[in-house]
């Protein structure tokens, strides 16, 4: 037992897909358990926070943490796991970049709570009850975790050693990452494991079908066009984020007839995924006239934040909708 690698898995603001991704390892998962001892995995094993607190600091070899940081509970748990772990790996887009829950940063916390509990069309809440952090029930105080002001990626809260990208990370990627982690030859801190170091076009079979110059007159949503699956989707006018997204996934989405939406995130040198994405897209639009260009952009690119920061808003330079007003900061 003692020479098995001690591993913990934890989920924060998560859909559960990353947990499933581990299960998708299938037979490899069984082989994995020969090398690895899972000491903490709330979704699968009945262990409590107090059990983790009882472990000596640094006694967990690797903690895989998925999900974004949205509640005070997440923050508390990941800080705890950081103390107790030698290596922390951000697993999946949400912990790597903030993920889809990160798009909540387009709204203020108050706006979100108000909408969900009061304003949504299907809500019936005549007393206007919004969850509070502390509530008296039957003479006792009941606590709920606090909703943090902004959704965050894991490394914005604790020190992270490695990242495994993807929404969810494909089995091949997980396998490669695990091989690296268990090999004893650890790469430089901060590396993204299991994935490529170049963008998706490098491994995409459709890359060589691109015409010499791409110049788009309009952009189409996927449902608006019958894609020729043997030719580059971007060249057909569909927004494919392959050029700006880290490769290594085997172009699964492309092979499935869908353009890349960017879940592996940016390459190492890129500081803001969305800014780079919008730069190349704008550059290849075929409009030199100011009025026409403006019109086309208004008409075809309806939600730049959603398109370009689908998985990475908390890790973008701006991190979300600016929530200051004349310098005043709301807590």
């Amino acid at each position: 037992m003692s020479d098995k690698v001690k591993v913990a898995l934890y989920w924060c603001a998560s859909c559960g897909g990353c947990e499933e991704a581990f299960v998708d390892l299938a037979e490899d998962l069984i082989r994995l358990t020969e090398k690895v001892e899972i000491v903490f995995w709330p979704v699968a094993i009945d262990m409590k926070k107090s059990d983790v607190e009882a472990l000596p600091d640094g006694s967990i070899d690797i903690s895989f943490i998925n999900g974004g940081i949205r509640l005070s509970e997440h923050e508390e748990m990941v800080k705890l796991l950081r103390r107790k772990s030698k290596v922390v790996v951000a697993f999946g887009s949400c912990s790597h970049l903030g993920g889809v829950p990160g798009l909540a940063n387009m709204y203020s916390r108050d706006e979100i709570l108000k909408y969900i509990y009061l304003e949504a069309p299907t809500v019936v809440n005549p007393e206007g009850v919004i969850p509070k952090e502390v509530v008296r029930v039957d003479g006792q105080e009941v606590e709920l975790p606090k909703v943090l002001r902004l959704a965050r990626a894991l490394d914005q809260v604790i020190d992270v050693d490695y990242y495994i990208p993807g929404c969810a990370p494909p089995p091949d990627v997980i396998k490669r990452a695990l091989d690296t982690l268990l090999s004893g030859q650890l790469p430089p801190k901060g590396s993204v494991l299991g994935a490529g170091s170049r963008s998706l076009c490098d491994e995409c079979e459709l890359n060589k079908t691109k015409p010499e110059k791409i110049s788009l007159k309009d952009l189409k949503r996927v449902y608006q066009v019958r894609l020729d699956l043997s030719k580059c989707y971007l060249a057909q006018g569909v927004l494919c984020l392959g050029p700006v997204t880290r490769g290594g996934c085997g172009t699964l989405c492309i092979k499935g007839g869908m353009p890349c939406t960017g879940c592996f995130g940016p390459l190492d040198n890129v500081k803001d995924y969305g800014a780079r994405a919008l730069s190349y897209l704008a550059s290849i639009l075929d409009y030199d006239d100011e009025l026409q260009a403006e019109k086309v952009i208004e008409e075809y690119i309806v939600d730049p934040a959603g398109w370009f920061y689908r998985y990475s808003l908390p890790k973008s330079l701006v991190r979300g909708r600016y929530q200051g007003s004349g310098g005043e900061v709301r807590g």
Partner: protein
Amino acid sequence: MSDVRVGVYICHCGKNIAGVINPAKVAEFASKLPNVVVARDYMYMCSSPGQSLIEEDIKKYNLNRVIVAACSPRMHEPTFQAVLKRAGLNPWLLQMVNIREHDTWVHEDTPDKAEEKAKELVAAAVARATHLYEITTEKAPVVKSALVIGGGIAGIRAALDLANAGIKVYLVEKRQSIGGRMAQLDKTFPTLDCSKCILTPLMVDVARHPNIEIYAYSEVVDVSGSAGDFKVKIKLKPTYVDWSKCTGCGTCVEKCPGKAPNEFDEGLGFRKAIYFEFAQAVPRRPVIDPRYCLWFTKGICRVCSKVCPVGAIDYEQKERYVELNVGAIVVAIGYEIYDMTKMVEYGYGKFKNVITGLQLERLSDADGPTKGRIVRLSDGREPKTVAIVLCAGSRDEKHVRYCCRFGCAAALKHVYYVKHAVPDAKVLVLYTDVRAFGKGFEEFYQKVRSWDDVYFIRGRPAEIFEDKDGSLIFDVYDSNTNQLINVRADLVVLESAVVPPKDWEPLRRLLKVSCDPGGFALELHPKLRPFETTADGIFLAGTIQGPKDIPDTVAHAAAAAAVAIGFLLKGYVESVPYLATVNEDLCSGCGLCVSVCPYDAITIEEKEGRRVAKVNVIRCKGCGACAATCPSGAMQQHYFTDTQILSEVSTLAGGAK
């Protein structure tokens, strides 16, 4: 970064900088910045002692980065780069900071803020300098030949100058003969002898010159490559005459029964279906116009092939293509007259006796449709009253905004034509201004003004009406005398506005030449470099750069040729230092850089089973569009890498502490 050793030099620029801020304080501030080994201030950094100061410091302190805070780098960057070179350092390890044009000269009122700004700019430069690295340029050989597009006086002059310098010249002309507009003129000022008399000897010189090859009745259809090595594709339009057999005897033209409108005569009169552009055409080889040839339209005649003594007629002839390899291109495609039918108020195109100045030239020409007689087109009678309207279409917001430059001089000449042909005619010159600049023109103007029956009226007709007998009637308000004058003229001559050739857009785009608001070719600098363009190796000669008269056209063309000669005889072209450069490890071969490069300087190549971008270092002009487009950060620009720019951004955004 511990091996980065920075020297910072703050210039006083006399009182220009030191009068507003304290350079010593800035130097002191700089000395505390990371990696700065020495920081000084000095009176005149660009002076000889100033330069020596830097040179000595480089050697003494083993500097490998130099910051000079002074005037605009557009002024003195080459000066200080030369200092680095002399001291054995690569010139691209220099970073200049603009604390004069961008600081002390504009923030005099807030000197402490100006000093703070200077410090911040210096701090940003020091931060950027740590990321600078050596850059070398490459040379490529130049093809010692030139293409001249357009065979008017500008093209002729440029071709002769280039050929005389020992350069092989290909002269391409879209019409049957070279000669251009000047061949259409009757006389030229100031000698007032015939235009063709001074033009045709030059045309013959061109035809005889061993270094010049004329491609007449041909057009440029493709241009690729770059300065020093252009590949040009010429289309030789079918003439239906084998020019290698033809002797130019002209029998075919004499016997041809076909009739076509005569473009050389500006639509006045007719020519044959097989024709020479004009009698003194060079090359003297005819062309069949299939639109008017009876064989092509009706399947009859073929007289020309019957009378041709050498059997040169070839109705089956197809268009041919020729590929040329040249080092430089001179654009000399001239101008066109503005379509006067657009000025409905003047009745051009409706009223027979309203003609353009160029049409008057054809009437006056002894070789023209009326053999030199100036007559009314409606009935062939001599005009007794001629009205010449200046600025027809020019200086007009609704038509052409700019001045045509030679209209006034041409009008004075036209007064001479009319008075010479019809001595007792009354000539009215309706002007807005009389711009008689140029040598001898003012004297000529005074002379014309003094002639009997010549009247200068400062006004323009609002609307011209036609009388039953073809005469033209209109009112004109003379602002000199405050009188409304009613005029009845036999002939109205419109000195029309001048525009660039209406179909030159495709050629312009092929050559990557920009155009100005009027549609003329955009020069590199309107004062100092009016015969060069931003496209390397492409030069402008004549009116394609803007309206001008013949002396200015010739001067312009000779200047273009001179610069082209210098460019070609240098023997090589150098790559731009701030080139695009690919990090092949990061490049995924997505090809988006190829899509945005305006010079087609990037290609995607197969390398070790991967696709990667490759930059042609001679074609790349260093704009950086590819670097900003590259989604992986693989494409960078020397001297403007993301790291270098972002370090400047960061320091300036955060404020130097």
